[in-house]
Amino acid sequence: MLKHKEALRTDFLWLICIAILGCGRSSTSTPIPSSSTQGVTGAAPFGTGCQQTFQNNWQAGLGHVWSLCSKWNSRFNAVADWKWYYNLDGGKGWWEQPSGYGNNLDTVNFFFGSTHGGAFNGTAAYAMWNVNSSAKTTSMRLGNNLDVLSTYSCQTLKTDNQIVARWLPVMAGGLRYVTGSHDTVYDSYWTDGSAESFANNMAHSHSIRSSWLDGLWNLFVKNDAAVMTVGTNASDCFNRLGNMTAQNRLGFPRRRDGAIGYMCWTTRHE
């Protein structure tokens, strides 16, 4: 990693070197500190859980999830500490009831997932591989270790009059931040780099909100990106929603149970 000050303005050799010889360097990384309470030190641990095909085709196959998640893992691993990556066969348990599983959503600081999603009456839901199995947010309480829950799934942050009911159970455990979609995110060849772009933006210490909105932004495909957090009041929520980064998140105390007075969210809206 090199810092350049005015260098390019007087000397193009390095750029020419990159362009012609491919002698550039790998993408830069800003290490993301760990906040684990289980003794993990150094870079923050992260886990990934994704599903592209479904048992007996109970849900339509998604053609590009493995590449989406692989790209996420590759890029985010440059700044955080990759711990595990699983498909969602039997995933309901380690999404909803983390304590019974060695690796689960609450053993890492960052989790990224991709599968079908839905906004049910009173709960958001994520499709697992197993027939008729879905993980429901009203059965999830996260935040012993997890800081940021990110999912590339449709509708889980739908902004109707039930968003609080769907997400307060999850946030009550102290989870700092959620990224997702209020309507549609597209499975396609043209969008399978979205999570990689999100990771790259976070690596440069941009706010989680801007990182997610911009990561899913596309001049072709109209992804509907949304983020959410909680606060003691509206002002606290606004501050946390817009200013939290992967690097500074530890400066935003976990808000649990009765300390949560407000929920707030941002969408990129038509």
Partner: protein, 352 residues
């Protein structure tokens, strides 16, 4: 059951009018025309995307242009230079701006993240800048900042395409008050038509990002020069296009699945420089952006047919030339020629 034909039929029936709420008239007309007649012409002259001057030269040009700027569009200060397989980036993490030039230099992305995070003052959603204001701001920006980059040739036209709003909403968790919706940012997107035919896809697009007071804080463009190498390509009718969709779509659904077409746009398909095959022509195509709704929880669905539903979004771009030419980065063309689905690398990681 293969219900590809169902998709084609439903395309006509279920095009969501609400999806066009923030689209400009040109896009609404493009969608309506595409649904009715496809491209609406019997043949087109294919285009070639002229190679740009290269990412290094363009990066240097933009870095120099705003090096002394103290406005929201600036490249002042230290920056970190990186390269990946898509292009070159300069990032000033301290002051919060980033500049990326992709591929051959015909696509550029700029953000002043720190400025936006510090200046995104919420206003009531009802007071958001109307589309006409965003269009005016956008045109002013293009003239003032990108006048030598986003050029419009003699047989070309530039149109406002869509507007998007970044919201901030909040609600007390005791539900003692309803959610309050505000706006913290605005985006306007322009597109281009060549020889009277719209360019669909990520190519020939320019987006400008504004604060609520009209201050720009970012832009994206993918805006090549096109030339016509000669010859023409016969174009399929809308019925033939829908038949091709049934054959080439990446997705198959049971007849019980509800498919909703959010966007349907026919024209020259230019996916943008990141997905451009330098050996391929810019050919006619029709882009479908659709959602499919499935039962995700049978018990909930049985009790209430509006409950327990899950959704997915998917994209297909069907070649609309009667004799399309090969393009290694166009999934449906690739499938038509090879019988194989185009995928980036990635494998099932296995079960915990």
């Amino acid at each position: 059951m293969n219900s590809r034909k169902n998709i084609s039929i439903l395309t006509l029936a279920l095009l969501s009018s609400s999806a066009f709420a923030a689209d400009f008239p040109h896009r609404r007309e493009l969608n309506a025309r595409s649904l009715a007649v496809g491209l609406g012409v019997s043949s087109v002259m294919p285009l070639v995307r002229t190679a740009g001057p290269g990412a290094p030269a363009v990066l240097e040009r933009f870095l120099s242009r705003w090096q002394q700027s103290t406005t929201s569009i600036t490249t002042a200060g230290d920056y970190e230079l990186t390269q990946d397989d898509t292009g070159l980036s300069a990032d000033n993490d301290r002051d919060g701006w980033s500049l990326k030039v992709s591929g051959d230099g015909t696509a550029v992305t700029y953000r002043n993240w720190a400025f936006h995070d510090a200046h995104s003052v919420p206003i009531d959603f009802a007071q958001r800048p109307p589309e006409s204001t965003l269009e005016a701001w956008g045109r002013r920006f293009l003239d003032g900042y990108l006048g030598t980059d986003v050029l419009v040739g003699p047989n070309e036209q530039r149109y406002p395409l869509s507007a998007r709003y970044d919201t901030f909403s909040y609600q007390p968790t005791d539900l003692s008050a309803p959610a309050v919706d505000m706006v913290i940012g605005n985006v306007v997107v322009f597109t281009r038509a060549v020889n009277g035919v719209d360019v669909v896809g990520g190519g020939s697009k320019v987006a400008v990002f504004f604060e609520n007071d009209g201050t720009p804080y970012g832009f994206d463009f993918d805006w090549p020069n096109y030339v016509t190498p000669g010859g023409s390509m016969d174009v399929l009718s809308i019925d033939e296009i829908n038949a091709q969709d049934a054959l080439l779509s990446d997705y198959q659904f049971d007849a019980s699945v509800a498919v909703d077409t959010r966007l349907f746009e026919c024209g020259y398909f230019d996916a943008g420089i990141q997905f451009h095959d330098a050996q391929a022509l810019i050919q006619p195509g029709c882009a479908y952006q659709r959602t499919a709704t499935f039962v995700g929880d049978p018990d909930l669905y049985a009790a209430d047919p509006t409950d327990g539903l899950m959704q997915t979004g998917f994209v297909d771009v069907v070649p609309a030339a009667r004799l399309p030419q090969f393009d290694q980065f166009w999934p449906q063309v690739y499938y038509a020629f090879s019988g194989e689905h185009l995928r980036s690398a990635g494998d099932d990681p296995g079960q915990q």
